[in-house]
C-alpha cells in the first residue's frame, strides 16, 4: 500500500495543505434529501428523508418525519404505505413482509409540504453467488497484506448489469470513499465467475458480511457520480463538481430534491476469517 503513495509523492513533495476560511454562499430555500431502498429483504426497505443544511452549519441533521410515503406497484392499483419509525428515523412499510418482487416495476411517491416527489424502478433478477473464499496475501501493489475474500458466482444477464457490493466487517459497514465497490460489464463479467476479490484486507477473527445489489442504471449512475464527487478535490485534474443526478423528480411543487430510489435484489453471504495454518 505504501507504493501507491509514490504516485502522489512527487506531487506532495512540493505541496502543502492547510485549513482555511472561505466565504461560501448558502442554500436558497429548503432542499429535501430522499434515500429510498426497496429490495426483496424487509430489513433493507426504508425511506429516509432529511434536509440539506448550510455548509458550516454544525447543528444536527434535520429529519423529516411528517411526509406521506408510499410505493405503487405499476400496472396495478396496489400501493404499499409507509410510516415513520422513530427508532430508525426513517419510513418503513406498514406491513413488514412487503418486499420487492422480481419483474415488478415500482413507483415511489413522497408527499411533503405541498410537493410531490416520484421515482421509478424495476426489480431485476439477482445474479448467482456460489461461494466465498479467503486467503492470506502478501503486500502487493496498491494492496496491503492481509486476508482477502473472493466472491464466486455467475452473472447470466446480457443487460442491466449494474452492481454494488457492500462489506460489513464485524458489524461495521465499510463506508469510506475508498470502500465503494461498484461494477458493470464494461470489462466483462468473467471475473465474477473466476472470483471477484474484495479490495479490503481482513484479519484473522474478522466476521465479514457481503451484500450484493443489482441496481437499475439510474441508481447505479447516482452512486458512480457520488463516488466521483467524493474524490473530487477541486483541482485542475478534476471535473467541475456537480451533484449526482438524482432519479427522483419533483412531480408537483417547486424546488429541487436530492437522493435516490434504488430497487434491487440483495444477496448476502457471511464468512469468518480463520488463521491459515502453514
Amino acid at each position: 500500500m505504501k507504493k501507491i503513495w509514490f504516485i502522489v509523492f512527487c506531487f506532495c513533495l512540493f505541496s502543502c495543505q492547510e485549513e482555511v476560511n472561505l466565504p461560501l454562499a448558502t442554500i436558497d430555500g429548503i432542499v429535501p434529501v430522499i434515500e429510498a431502498t426497496w429490495t426483496d429483504i424487509p430489513f433493507y426497505n426504508e425511506v429516509k428523508i432529511t434536509l440539506a443544511e448550510n455548509y458550516f452549519d454544525s447543528s444536527d441533521q434535520t429529519v423529516v418525519s411528517n411526509a406521506l410515503v408510499r410505493i405503487l406497484i405499476e400496472g396495478t392499483t396496489i400501493n404499499i404505505p409507509f410510516y415513520f419509525n422513530d427508532d430508525t428515523q426513517s419510513y418503513k412499510p406498514f406491513r413488514e413482509t412487503s418486499t420487492a418482487v422480481v419483474g415488478e416495476s415500482y413507483e415511489l411517491q413522497v408527499f411533503w409540504e405541498g410537493n410531490v416527489y416520484t421515482s421509478k424502478g424495476v426489480m431485476l433478477a439477482p445474479p448467482i453467488v456460489d461461494s466465498l473464499t479467503y486467503a492470506y496475501q502478501e503486500e502487493r501493489l496498491f494492496r496491503d497484506e492481509g486476508y482477502y475474500i473472493k466472491v464466486y458466482g455467475e452473472i447470466p444477464f446480457k443487460e442491466n448489469n449494474y452492481y454494488r457490493i457492500k462489506v460489513i466487517e464485524n458489524d461495521t459497514l465499510k463506508n469510506d470513499r475508498d470502500d465503494y465497490l461498484l461494477f458493470d460489464d464494461t470489462f466483462g463479467l468473467q471475473f465474477f465467475e473466476e472470483g471477484l476479490e474484495l479490495n479490503y484486507p481482513f484479519e484473522a477473527g474478522d466476521k465479514v458480511r457481503m451484500e450484493l445489489f443489482r441496481m437499475n442504471k439510474s441508481s447505479y449512475d447516482y452512486f458512480s457520480q457520488l463516488v466521483g464527487l467524493l474524490f473530487n478535490d477541486g483541482g485542475l485534474f478534476s471535473p467541475p463538481p456537480q451533484n449526482p443526478d438524482t432519479n427522483i423528480i419533483v412531480e408537483e411543487g417547486e424546488g429541487k430534491v436530492l437522493g435516490y430510489f434504488m430497487v434491487s435484489p440483495v444477496l448476502t453471504e457471511t464468512v469468518f476469517i480463520r488463521k491459515e495454518n502453514n
Binding site: 512527487c10 502543502c16 442554500i27 443544511e53 458550516f56 466483462g188 457520488l226 467541475p240 436530492l258
Partner: protein
C-alpha cells in the same frame, strides 16, 4: 544597426582589397588566420588585426573572415578587434605562425542586446499587418526566471497578454477564451499532440534546440488552419556551417545538451539536442525499497539536418521525440510519447517566386500496464496525423505579394485497446478506429493600397471527410442520449466516406499607418477545427480521449474580429499596443455529469454541445533595447459558454475565465558578468464552484453544489519570481559558462491549487481515527492545497 555596420565593413573591405590586393601574395613572410564569431562561428568581415606594438601593421579580414599579416620577430602579441565584440590579444609563437590561426571573438554584452533586437525589426509592430501575433526571442525566454530552473517555452508564452493558464505550474495555454485543445502547437510544421511532460508541469521543448517561436492568437494567415484559438509555431535551430558548436545546461532536475555544426561540407548542417530528467536516478539511491524500485522520468531528443542543393534549393529534415514514464515496482507502468518528423523543400523558382513543400508525420501514443494475476492488463492507444503542404509565393511588385497552396492532413486514431494479461479475468476492450481526411486549399496576399494603407487577405477552404475504417451508431429517437438504445450500426471500409463537412475561412486585415511610429490595425478571421479532446478537466492528461468530427459531432467554428492601435516611442525603443477582440465560438463541447469516455465506442452519448463567446482588451508596453528590457502587460477578458445540460442551460464561465491579468517581465544587465530577471504575475482567481451546503446520503456527508457552474472564484493569484545570472567572460577562449540562480514564488504566496470540502476530525486536517485515536470533534471544513512556495533552483549553462 547591425546590418548597417556589416554593410559598412563590407564596403570598407572591398575598398581596401581594391587598393591593397597585391599585398596578398603568398610568402613565408606572412602568416594567415581567420576571425570568427564565437557565438555562431560566422566569419567576421572587416575585423582589425595588428601587432600590439605597431598599430600601423594592421590589416582587416576579408569576406570569409580571413586575414594575411606580415610576420615580425616572434613571439609577439597580436590584437584582433571588431566593433561590438570583445578584443582578443594573443601571444603568437613561431610554431603558431606557421599554420592558420582561428580567432573566436565573443560578442560584447552590449551587442548581445542588440542581437536580440535583430530578431524583430525595430518598427515591426507598427509597420507589419499582423494583429494578435506575439513573439518572444529565445534569448529572452532563457532569461525569464523559471520553475525548477527549467526554461519553459509554453510557460513563457503565458506571460503574454491574452494568454491564460489553467493553474499553478502548468503549461496549458488558454488563448483569448479558447480551451487548451484549440491551440495548434507545431514543430517545424508538424503538430504535437501532447506538448507537455509530467502531467503538464513542463513543456516538451528544450530551449537550446529552438530557433524561433511565433504565437498567433487567432489571426493566422490563410496558409495555417485547423485550430480555433492559436498557432504556436516553433522552429528548431539549424546548425551552423563552420564548426562544431555546443551548448547545454546542468539543472536541478534535468540536464540538456545541444550540438551543431557542418555535416560533410559547408553545404549541409546538423543540430541535435537532448534533455533528460534524473529524478529516477536519485530514487535508486534510496534505501527504501518502496521508493528505490520506482521510475519517473522524461526526455526530449531533437535533430535537424539541412542541405543546400545549389543556389536555389534547400532541404531540411527535422525530428522530435519525447517521452515520459512512471513505473511502480515493476508492476505498474504509465508512459506516453510524442514523435514528430518533418521535411521541407524550399525552392527558389525565380528572383520573385518561391515554392515550399512540407511533409510531416506526427504520432502520439500512451501505454498503461498493470501486472496482476487477477486483473492485469495492457491499455494503449495511438494517435497520428500525416500531412503535406505546398505553397507558391510571389513578390509581384514592391507593393503586392501573393501566395496560394494546398494542405492535406490524414488523422488516424487507433482503437483504444485494453488487453488482459494472461490469467486475467477481465475481458478485452477494443473501440473502433477513427479517421479523418482534411484537405484545404488557400490563397492570400498582401497589398499596399497606399503608402499608409495596406491589407492582408486570404481565404482557406477546408474540406473534411470522416472516413473508414469506422462505425456509425444509430440511436432510438435519433439522438445519442445516455438512455437511448442503439437501434443499428453501420461499418465502413478503409477510406470509405462517412461524413463530410466543409467551410470557407476568410481572413482579412488592414493597417493604417498614421505616421512612422503609429498605426491602427483591424482584422477578421474565421477558423474551423475538426479534432478536439473530450475532457472536462482543465489540465490535460496523457490518456485524454481525442475525437474527430463525425455524424454527431459538428466541427468547431470561431469568428474573431480584432482592432488595435500600435505606437512606438523614443526611436522605437518603446512599444505600446492596445488590442481588443471579440470572438464567437460554435459547437464547443463539454461532458455530461459522470461521463465516462475513455473506453466507450459511443463517445457521442457522453458529450454535450453548445456555443460560446469571448472578448477582451490587451495592453502591452514593451522595451527591447538597452540594459533594461522587458514588458508590462494587462489584459481584461471574459469568456462564456452556453451548453444545454450544464448550468441549467444558462451561460457560465469556464475555469480559465480570469478577467484581470497583469504581467511584468524585467531583465537587467548590471555588468558583463551579472544580470538579473524579475517576473510578477497577477490574475483574477479561477472560476470554480464552491459548495453551498452539505447533506447526508449513503452514510456520507456530501457537499451540495448550486445548479449554476463556476459562480465562485479562487482568491486572486499573484507571484513574483527572480533570477540572477553570473557568467565568467574570461573563462577560456571558447568555453563560456554561466550560473543561474532563480527563485520561483519569491515572497512565498500561498496560491491555492485546490480546495477540498470535507470533514476535519479533532481540528487536524490529516487525522486518522484508526491510527491517531478516538474522535473528539467533527466539523465541515475547507482544506487548501498549494504548491511551490519559495522554490529556489540553480542551473549551470555552458557554450563552446
Amino acid at each position: 544597426m547591425q546590418l548597417f555596420r556589416s554593410l559598412s565593413n563590407v564596403l570598407f573591405v572591398w575598398v581596401l582589397f581594391g587598393v591593397t590586393g597585391t599585398l596578398f601574395a603568398q610568402s613565408d613572410e606572412f602568416f594567415t588566420g581567420v576571425v570568427l564569431d564565437a557565438s555562431n562561428s560566422d566569419p567576421l568581415i572587416g575585423a582589425n588585426v595588428y601587432w600590439e606594438d605597431n598599430l600601423n601593421s594592421g590589416v582587416v579580414t576579408d569576406l570569409d573572415g580571413k586575414f594575411k599579416l606580415k610576420k615580425r620577430v616572434l613571439p609577439s602579441r597580436l590584437v584582433v578587434s571588431y566593433l561590438g565584440f570583445e578584443k582578443s590579444i594573443r601571444n603568437i609563437t613561431v610554431n603558431e605562425a606557421e599554420k592558420e590561426i582561428r580567432f573566436f571573438l565573443k560578442p560584447s554584452e552590449l551587442s548581445l542586446e542588440e542581437i536580440i533586437i535583430q530578431e524583430r525589426r525595430p518598427d515591426e509592430q507598427v509597420k507589419n499587418l499582423e494583429t494578435g501575433k506575439a513573439s518572444i526571442p529565445i534569448e529572452t525566454i532563457k532569461n525569464i526566471p523559471a520553475l525548477f530552473g527549467e526554461v519553459d517555452l509554453l510557460r513563457s508564452l503565458q506571460l503574454l497578454p491574452g494568454v491564460q493558464t489553467a493553474g499553478e505550474g502548468t503549461t496549458g495555454l488558454f488563448v483569448r477564451g479558447g480551451s487548451a485543445d484549440q491551440n495548434l502547437v507545431q514543430v517545424d510544421g508538424a503538430p504535437v499532440f501532447n506538448p507537455s511532460h509530467f502531467f503538464g508541469f513542463f513543456s516538451v521543448f528544450s530551449p537550446d534546440a529552438l530557433d524561433q517561436v511565433d504565437l498567433y492568437k487567432g489571426n493566422m494567415p490563410a496558409s495555417y488552419g485547423g485550430r480555433l484559438s492559436s498557432l504556436i509555431d516553433v522552429s528548431l535551430k539549424e546548425g551552423n556551417n563552420e564548426q562544431i558548436h555546443g551548448e547545454g545546461g546542468i539543472g536541478s532536475i534535468s540536464s540538456r545538451f545541444m550540438l551543431d555544426g557542418p555535416l560533410f561540407s559547408d553545404k549541409s548542417t546538423f543540430a541535435i539536442s537532448g534533455r533528460r530528467t534524473y529524478a529516477d536516478l536519485f530514487l535508486k539511491l534510496s534505501s527504501n525499497e518502496d521508493i528505490k524500485n520506482n521510475k519517473l522520468n522524461f526526455h526530449d531528443l531533437s535533430a535537424k539536418f539541412s542541405f543546400r542543393l545549389g543556389e536555389k534549393d534547400k532541404i531540411t529534415l527535422s525530428s522530435y521525440e519525447g517521452s515520459d514514464f512512471l513505473g511502480l515496482d515493476e508492476q505498474f507502468g504509465l508512459g506516453w510519447r510524442n514523435w514528430v518528423t518533418s521535411s521541407k523543400w524550399s525552392h527558389t523558382i525565380s528572383e520573385n517566386s518561391f515554392f515550399d513543400l512540407e511533409s510531416y508525420h506526427s504520432r502520439y501514443n500512451y501505454k498503461v500496464e498493470f501486472d496482476d494475476p487477477d486483473a492485469g492488463f495492457t491499455w494503449e492507444n495511438k494517435l497520428s496525423e500525416s500531412g503535406m503542404k505546398g505553397q507558391w509565393s510571389w513578390i509581384n511588385s514592391d507593393k503586392i505579394q501573393t501566395y496560394w497552396g494546398f494542405q492535406s492532413q490524414l488523422y488516424h486514431f487507433s482503437p483504444i485497446a485494453l488487453d488482459p494479461a494472461g490469467g486475467s479475468a477481465i475481458q478485452p476492450i477494443a473501440t473502433n478506429p477513427k479517421n479523418g481526411f482534411l484537405n484545404s486549399v488557400f490563397a492570400g496576399g498582401l497589398v499596399e493600397l497606399s503608402p499608409r494603407l495596406s491589407t492582408e487577405f486570404g481565404l482557406r477552404w477546408s474540406l473534411y471527410h470522416q472516413v473508414g475504417k469506422g462505425v456509425d451508431y444509430f440511436y432510438e429517437g435519433g439522438a445519442p442520449t445516455d438512455e437511448a438504445e442503439i437501434t443499428d450500426s453501420v461499418s465502413f471500409g478503409r477510406l470509405k466516406p462517412m461524413h463530410f463537412y466543409q467551410g470557407l475561412e476568410p481572413r482579412v486585415a488592414f493597417r493604417f499607418l498614421v505616421n512612422d511610429e503609429f498605426s491602427i490595425k483591424a482584422a477578421y478571421n474565421r477558423n474551423y477545427q475538426y479534432v478536439q479532446i473530450a475532457s472536462n478537466s482543465s489540465a490535460g492528461l496523457p490518456v485524454d480521449r481525442w475525437i474527430l468530427s463525425g455524424k454527431y459531432m459538428d466541427p468547431l467554428r470561431s469568428d474573431q474580429i480584432s482592432l488595435g492601435v500600435f505606437r512606438n516611442f523614443n526611436q522605437n525603443k518603446w512599444e505600446l499596443s492596445v488590442e481588443t477582440y471579440a470572438k464567437d465560438i460554435r459547437n464547443t463541447i463539454d461532458l455530461k455529469n459522470g461521463a465516462s469516455v475513455l473506453f466507450t465506442d459511443q463517445v457521442e452519448t457522453e458529450i454535450l454541445s453548445g456555443d460560446g463567446y469571448a472578448y477582451g482588451v490587451e495592453f502591452l508596453l514593451r522595451k527591447n533595447v538597452g540594459k533594461t528590457t522587458g514588458w508590462l502587460a494587462y489584459t481584461y477578458s471574459r469568456t462564456w459558454r452556453t451548453i444545454e445540460g450544464i448550468s441549467l442551460g444558462q451561460r457560465y464561465n469556464p475555469r480559465y475565465d480570469r478577467p484581470n491579468d497583469v504581467t511584468l517581465v524585467l531583465n537587467h544587465e548590471f555588468s558583463p558578468s551579472w544580470s538579473a530577471g524579475l517576473t510578477f504575475v497577477y490574475t483574477t482567481g479561477q472560476a470554480v464552484s464552491f459548495p453551498i451546503g452539505t447533506y447526508e446520503v449513503d452514510n456520507q456527508v456530501v457537499p451540495l453544489y448550486s445548479d449554476y457552474r463556476n459562480e465562485d472564484r479562487f482568491p486572486d493569484y499573484h507571484r513574483m519570481d527572480a533570477s540572477i545570472t553570473w557568467k565568467n567572460p574570461d573563462k577560456g577562449r571558447k568555453w563560456r559558462g554561466s550560473w543561474n540562480f532563480s527563485v520561483y514564488n519569491l515572497y512565498g504566496r500561498k496560491n491555492p491549487f485546490a480546495y477540498e470540502f470535507r470533514e476535519v476530525i479533532n481540528d487536524k486536517i490529516n487525522y486518522d481515527p484508526d491510527v491517531d485515536g478516538p474522535v473528539v470533534s467533527r466539523k465541515q471544513s475547507v482544506v487548501m492545497t498549494y504548491l511551490f512556495t519559495f522554490l529556489p533552483s540553480i542551473t549551470y549553462n555552458f557554450q563552446f
